[in-house]
Symmetry: C2
Subunit: 201 residues, 2 copies
Amino acid sequence: MRLAVLASGYGSNLQAIIDAIEREEIAGQVQVVISDVEDAYALERAKKHGIENLYINPREYKDREAFDRVIVALLLERQIELVVLAGFMRLLSPFFVRKFRGKIINIHPSLLPAFPGLNGVQKALSYGVRVSGVTVHFVDEGLDTGPIILQDSVPVLDDDTEHTLHERIHRVEHRLYPRAIQLFIEQKLRLEGRRCIHIEG
Amino acid sequence: MRLAVLASGYGSNLQAIIDAIEREEIAGQVQVVISDVEDAYALERAKKHGIENLYINPREYKDREAFDRVIVALLLERQIELVVLAGFMRLLSPFFVRKFRGKIINIHPSLLPAFPGLNGVQKALSYGVRVSGVTVHFVDEGLDTGPIILQDSVPVLDDDTEHTLHERIHRVEHRLYPRAIQLFIEQKLRLEGRRCIHIEG
């Protein structure tokens, strides 16, 4: 399957995906990595693995949709079948979501619907939860509101800082995201209302 | 420690607490069980264990606070040190919360702040989460908003119904609530902002 990864930052989830592909745990290839941040380390990672990497400057476009139209065109040209958001710090426009309906997934560092949006880890810590976690979900027009593919929990410890909790969450992310991608590739996900059922076998 | 349990229904958490006391896992005694429902089975359970049990009819009082004033008077008379809500289907008035500030705890069948209020299990299932759980928290003036004492997660399975998920959650509740009560009795809980830190040793 032809994958694209959109990332704004360090790209540790991109790396986990590349590694899982090399271990043949994901039956797909990352065709292109696209970033809205020029010096995103995710672009560097792509380069190191011989993957096409593109920076698109959002300031060159008049609005979100104009920016998204460029990205959608790049994805269509490359016949992308699954769009993987990996720390992509922009809400997709309805135009983008429509064009790839059911084919965009995101990972979020909390057990959604708790703590959507930015700084999920910090919000969970400030709220004082004892359990947090990771969510992989389909992207719809809302902010972290799409159907949930996988979740896993992590404990929040008494002496946790945002850093230590984020580290624990990252480790779960790097395990969970490749699994979710492979479930999608194997067509093992079926939506029943908002519930995402995993088909056996 | 002198405990009171407020319950509106079947009282399975009350039973778990009574059992934990008999196993000496809770260093306290339930002095009284109070219900707003005349035929609540929780009252029957109290009777069977020789615990004072009182039905207070909310329809005899002009508003929530008038009703709560009666309950608060009963609790004060009995020198109650911890008020345990166990399926008590009424929001406490600010008056009640003020009178027992930091001495009222509740159990909720979801990982708060997700799915507060009524029907937490059904809401979680409809939303399509893959992980849910149980929360024990201090009661403040809001609806399930107080500082969290303990949480534990449970998986949501593809073939779960509200019944099967609730069963799984109940089993965790019956383990978690006695632990939280004993932490309170041992004075091992310290609030830092909204975070409830567990003191070691």
